[in-house]
Amino acid sequence: MQRRNFIVSSVAAAVLLVAAPALAQESSRLVIGTTVEPRSFDPAQAQEGTQIPYYQAVYDTLILREPDGSLAPMLASAWEYDETLLKLTLTLRDDVTFTDGTTFDADDVVASFAHFAEANGPQVNTVASVKEVTAVSPTEVLIELNEPDPAFLIYLTNAAGFIASSESLASDSLITTPVGSGPYTLDASSTMIGSRYHFVKKDDYWGRDLPYDEIDFMVLPDETARLNALRSGQINTAIFGSAASGDEAERAGLTRVPIEVDWHGLTFFDRAGTLNPAVGDVRVRQAINYALNRQLLLESFELGQGTATSQIWGKSSLGYVPELDTAYAYDPDKARALLAEAGYANGLDLTIPVTTIFDDATLVAVQQMLLDVGINAEYQEVPLSDFFGELRSGNQAMTYMWFFQPTDWQLINQFLAPTATWNVFDYADETVAALSERIQTGADEDRAAAAQELNRYIVDQAWFAPLYRVVKQNFVDDKTTVVPQVEQSAPSIYNYAPKN
């Protein structure tokens, strides 16, 4: 009898020993499977997109962006531009404390902006228009701009808006130990940098009472591992890179939470025809647009997960025009006619740089569609580590690429303005300049009208040959709900809740 009891007790103990970790997971915890980790918890080094939730856990921003894109108070309870749009006054909360015990005030905002500008982080360009930041009083900050910046308030909801304790900014410890006022604190004892980050909710947080007591980020760069973790219940949510993985997740009973934030397609850098005269001819660029059967590509290679489009503006932007999605309906005959009109009836050659992250089948199909109208597109393989540098080298007339769809003013500064990051040949256009100025300085109604007019012009001039906007393959399990965040690759941490 004693021996049997001993055996039963031993077996029970062994079961509990193995099951203990599972049993311990009953607390209110959200586990997010992610592909990236933060480079540093210094907010000046914050990268946006999928890294943003890490920073949101421990820092507050000056302004909060709601899931639908509207702005709400956060560390700034109110804000107002003057009539020149060059002076922005922020009224700050006076009841916020950092984790180092210091009280948040205007000096922290001033110090954060100065640090952000000096630190050469990934988002330093978002404060390029800032001339000076002054603490008018402990609860009032004046930000003076060099020129009107219609996207500036959006920047304050993101990397540029994260405020750390000014006492912590000079210390290297900020790299691994955040000192913010956010809803959670980083639990260093349960964190393995680069692998697993554990955040615990603050009891005395001044702001919204978020539903989870703990948030974990599990860094799972391998897509198979991420899918397995979600399917087996180890994580509650994850984003996958391919429609095929999304399809597999859906068949496993997981819930897709769709949002379109990226577009895939061709970008024409050489609009003046400096490298390749053909690319400088609008008729050739339009012909390329007509040659592409976008819907077929979307159905075949993205499993229909997205929207075929001829515009690079996103649906949440002021400049989005619904009918421009079908501006270039598939018409190979028209493509050939345009090429003939441009003097390329016998065909032409194009070189398109590509890299490993692009789907080979899509590229082959695009190449075939172009060949069908007489365009011989040769792909030039470039290693991923060199790809962006090669695109900006001035050696490429065009490229295949995936791009994020930002707000209108960000789009202009990333793609259209002569100084834009992706205007590689610094191509200047009077119509673009005039409409950009209206967007920069106009009232909201005029701004929207100007953005839509600009969009129409860019589509007509075929500066791009977009294929489609793709659905981000964001999935949750049956215990979790999430609202997608507009113009953001990953949902904000505020948007998650347990499913009741």
Binding site: V18, F41, T176, G194, S195, P221, S385, F388, Q414
Partner: protein, 313 residues
């Protein structure tokens, strides 16, 4: 013995410098645009240039290596460019994961291989043929394929083991076992196959030796002959193979750690090399050389203990 150890230490230092230099040059040539990778696709050329200066990438390769070597000699391997973590701390947190995986494989594989190989050599016949077929199959099964099969069956479908992640043994012994079991099995298959064959051949050869006949003629029990004499003599070549396997396991752990999301040195190697995180990769190179040197030394000492003829005077 002291002279032997001193010679080993000196040659190890030379080896570390040589391997680190070659590694540094290869990294420098193959890393691509690290600054661009850190800053993202929308970074301007001014930002990239400033980042290159900050990281020292505007200097020549020999200068950069010299600075790294001087710093490393003082024990300062810097910080990761992509996580900000101190390199030594980063390696120290991941080393136990890989060591527990590789050591687990070595122990598990040695137990299985010695058992199977010995039984095959002693019993012969059908058992021997089964073991040889099993070994051949094991050779042909890539570790990543075994890993995927195991995770699909035991984690996803049956839910007996976690699909990903790692629990430190000091946090939960049961959790650690549950997270390390499938990776160990996946990584053991090739090793078992190789070592089994080696043990089988060595035991079979040793059984034919005159001293075994002599021991039998003296009336020693067969079990004593096998355990105390035959296996001891056959162990040397098997241990040598195991030592070689250890180096291969360090490389093989890369894929298995990625599939199971184990935060070890293998998954670190892939991820940080892709990004061009030079400080971490250099630290990893030095650590790997040290591990290989130490393991080879331990194996040599073990062989010397087992076989007095192999001892260095």
């Amino acid at each position: 013995m002291i002279a032997f150890l001193a010679r080993r230490l000196l040659s190890s230092i030379v080896l570390v410098i040589a391997v680190s230099f070659v590694g540094f040059v290869l990294l420098a040539l193959a890393s691509g645009d690290t600054a661009q990778n850190m800053l993202g696709q929308n970074a301007t050329q001014e930002q990239i240039d400033a980042k290159n200066v900050e990281l020292g990438l505007d200097q020549s390769i020999p200068v950069r290596y010299g600075l790294w070597l001087a710093s490393a000699a003082r024990g300062d391997f810097g910080r990761s460019w992509f996580t900000g973590e101190n390199v030594i701390q980063s390696l120290a947190s991941r080393l136990p994961v890989t060591l527990s995986l590789v050591a687990g494989v070595m122990v598990f594989a040695a137990l299985i291989a010695f058992t199977l190989g010995s039984v095959a050599a002693i019993r012969r016949g059908k058992i021997d043929r089964f073991v040889q077929i099993f070994s051949a199959m094991g050779f042909g099964m890539p570790g990543f394929l075994v890993a995927l099969l195991l995770v699909t069956l035991f984690s996803i479908q049956l839910g007996w083991f976690p699909a990903t992640g790692y629990v430190e043994p000091q946090v939960s012994l049961g959790g650690w076992l549950s997270t390390i079991a499938l990776p160990i099995i996946a990584l053991s298959v090739n090793t078992i196959a190789g070592v089994t064959q080696q043990v089988r051949s060595a035991v079979a050869e040793t059984l034919q030796k005159d001293f075994v006949r002599t021991l039998r003629s003296r009336g020693l029990p067969e079990r004593t002959i096998i355990v105390k004499h035959v296996l001891r003599n056959a162990a040397t070549p098997a241990l040598t193979v195991l030592a070689l396997q250890f180096v291969g396991l360090l490389g093989g752990s890369v894929v298995v750690e990625s599939i199971f999301a184990l935060p070890g040195l293998g998954s670190m190697a892939i991820r940080y090399t892709e990004r061009g995180d030079v400080p971490v990769i250099m630290g990893l190179i030095v650590l790997t050389v040290i591990i290989v040197v130490v393991v080879n030394l331990l194996v040599d000492l073990a062989i010397g203990w087992l076989n007095p003829k192999a001892r260095v005077e």
